[in-house]
Amino acid sequence: MQQTSEPTHRLRARTFTCMGTVISLTVPTDAHKPPQAAADELEAATAVVERLFTELDSVFSLYRPDSEASRLVRGELALPAASAEMRARYEEAAEWRLLTEGAFTPERPDGGLDLSGIVKGHAIREAGTSLLALGMANWCLNAGGDVLVSGSPSPGTDVPWWAGIVDPADRRTLLAGFPLGGGFSAPSFAPAGLAPLSGKTADGGTRVALATSGSAERGDHIWSATAGAVEFLQVSVAAADVVTADVLATAIVAGGVSMLNRATVMWDIEALAVRANGELLATGGFRR
């Protein structure tokens, strides 16, 4: 459903529920397009994204007893016999496990396989590719708190999207904000799986993805790698691709300060971490 936008209200959004959370797609109104065409375009885009998420959910959701992931966990299916999609995501998750030295891992403590940590990021990544393929250059996709953007909320300018980060202690207030996109038109999607280990991109403005993980999170896929109390309540990572941001945010929550330091060195990211006592650790990009 959409309403006719008012001239000053330049953003439109559509939402749907999937993977147990809500996905929002926000696009700026194109002044040059007739409203009906713009609405159709948004409708079509949302449908594409929704289908993408639904398909992935049907394969990977552990809350559906008939999903391939559930069958895998129950032992009815062996990994080598699983679908190409399943094996590809497993391979990607395994590579991340190696890179994060175990802080991010698809294996649950009970030995079962839970790829939800990588699937959501993958879904957002795929959705972003589809949106670009549809010819949409300016949008903001938020899937349960993980954000991927393209372009600018004011098309034709280099004004970035602004993503707020909730305060884990009070989810009605914002702890900080971070600029995404803007400046450079297209997001750079890193090749599936890996960001470069070395070689920094010196510019700080091409982050298009912001992912946040928290120990208060619904997701079951964070197994704390450090014995004892969790060090971070919440970690937000801004990066050039959403899977990197998502995985590293998860890994840092699980791995603590050591993983935070390793991540900031090995990957070109910005990070904001909230300690259990409320103190903040942040890289330079979060500084005013």
Binding site: L98, L99, E101, L197
Partner: protein
């Protein structure tokens, strides 16, 4: 039957040679040469140990000791030091096998190879320790078990996979070189595997310069390590490949004539150019490759059995080697065809006048070992009466080149003994024929002043060992003993 040729000919029956009191002082003609050679040998020893110390010192200079404060740091530091020392030993081994003239002239090629073999196991142990301790040390620092750490190193750190391959190659090379293993495989197999050493060293190089920071760009340690690696590679390239190629093309050796001197023994005469450059090397050996099908890949170490003879104005001439069928490719040499080209490397070895330290000289040879002595006899300096030659064989027929040696002794005034006959079966340590041994003769009976002589021994290894022991028992110092091994 024994014959002896001395200034006063004997009666034909075995007689005890008369004892003459040994002179108290020698003129010391070779003193200077000997001193200089020993100085060079000592300098090499010092250089070798210094290089080992330097490889550790450059880690110390990098502040390495400061990292040993913690258990993980200590283990890692030990691993790094083991790697540095191991690589240094490997470079030393390569240099020892490179046939560098300075080393050859100071200690001799066979002693150089002896050190080379001795360093094999220690260097491998150090490299294994290096790999293990690094995996454990880094693992301790990161909370990983050594196996996971090793996997992480392989996967994550550039060039480490090459380092793993290098270690595997080193293990293969050293294991196949163990005597016990080597004897079970044909020589060619062992040789090919040994060549993998080059691959092992090359694959180990990248990670040394890229991992760990000790040899990072800008450090003086990097320059030093680069320098010694490049110098070793250059030495190998020059002395093992370029020099032999140059010698081969310079001399253009071609087989002229193959004549039989005894059953299973032939003289191979070759013509060539600029043979004057090969003169004066009596006793030293060359490595010959006869470029005929089936023969070209067998390297043969043989000495010249006579000085090169010049027949033309530009050094064109002939040279000769005397070869016996010892199996393993030698048999085919008996059937060499005229016109076969020959590739030559050398001369190598310290079995020459360069090793002289005394005015007197004694040459003791058996079987085909007589050959290098024949060449030495022709060129090595001595005054009449100051040289003794002892030839050993089962029968007169086995005293190869006997006529030539007799003539040379007559011309130069050397004392010659022929010792023929079988060994006394009950005395495995005797080098004399049975009759002489039972009669109680010893080395000093033939050469009373042997303690003041250079003693050159060449023959089958067990017999040679007996001769050397007898010489030592007669008071000859190690420096005066010169032994050419044919079985390396």
């Amino acid at each position: 039957m024994n014959t002896q040729l001395s200034p006063s000919p004997g009666t034909g029956e075995p007689t005890r040679p008369d004892h003459r009191p040994a002179p108290v002082r020698e003129t010391g003609r070779f003193d200077g040469q000997h001193r200089r050679r020993l100085l060079r040998a000592d300098a090499l020893t010092v250089a070798a140990w210094s290089s080992l110390a330097a490889s550790i010192a450059l880690w110390l200079a990098d502040g390495g000791l400061a990292t040993t404060a913690s258990p993980a740091g200590l283990v890692t530091a030990l691993g790094i030091v083991a790697g540095l020392a191991g690589m240094d030993l490997v470079l030393l081994m390569l240099l020892l096998a490179a046939r560098i003239p300075f080393i050859d002239g100071a200690v001799g090629h066979d002693r150089a190879l002896e050190f080379h073999r001795k360093l094999g196991k220690p260097s491998l142990y150090l490299l294994l320790a290096h790999g293990l301790l690094i995996a454990v040390g880094y693992g301790m620092a990161e909370g990983l078990d050594p196996v996971s750490e090793a996997v992480a190193l392989w996967v994550l750190v550039p060039d480490m996979w090459l380092a793993f391959i290098s270690l595997a190659l080193f293990i293969a090379v050293v294991v196949t070189s163990l005597v016990a293993v080597r004897q079970r495989f044909p020589y060619e197999f062992w040789y090919v595997v040994h060549l993998l050493t080059y691959a092992a060293v090359l694959t180990s190089l990248p990670h040394q310069f890229s991992v760990g920071g000790l040899f990072a760009v800008g450090t003086w340690q990097r320059w030093y390590w680069l320098a010694i690696c490049i110098a070793t590679g250059a030495a190998l390239l020059y002395y093992r490949i370029i020099q032999p190629l140059r010698a081969t093309f310079r001399h253009q050796l071609t087989v002229e004539r193959v004549t039989s001197v005894a059953p299973g023994v032939v003289n191979i005469e070759m013509s060539g150019l600029q043979l004057g450059l090969l003169a004066g090397n009596g006793g030293r050996f060359f490595i010959w490759r006869f470029l005929a099908p089936g023969l070209w890949w067998h390297p043969h170490p043989f000495s010249l059995s006579a000085e090169p003879v010049r027949t033309g104005p530009d050094g064109h001439g002939r040279l000769r080697i005397t070869v016996r069928d010892l199996g393993r490719g030698s048999a085919q040499l008996l059937r060499l065809r005229r016109g076969t080209k020959v590739a030559v490397e050398g001369p190598y070895g310290l079995f020459s006048s360069a090793a002289r330290s005394k005015d007197r000289v004694v040459m003791i040879g058996a079987g085909i070992g007589i050959t290098p002595l024949r060449a030495l006899l022709e060129t090595t300096p001595f005054a009449p009466g100051q040289a003794t030659v002892l030839l050993r064989g089962h029968s007169n027929r086995e005293l190869y080149l006997g006529e030539e040696i007799l003539e040379l002794c007559r011309q130069r005034g050397a004392t010659l003994f022929h010792l023929t006959g079988g060994r006394d079966p009950g005395s495995p340590n005797s080098w004399l024929p049975a009759a002489e041994h039972r009669a109680g003769y010893a080395l000093a009976d033939y050469v009373p002043a042997i303690a003041f002589a250079d003693v050159y021994v060449c023959g089958p290894s067990r017999w040679s060992g007996n001769v050397l022991n007898a010489a030592r028992a007669a008071g000859v110092h190690e420096d005066q003993l010169h032994h050419e091994r044919f079985d390396w």
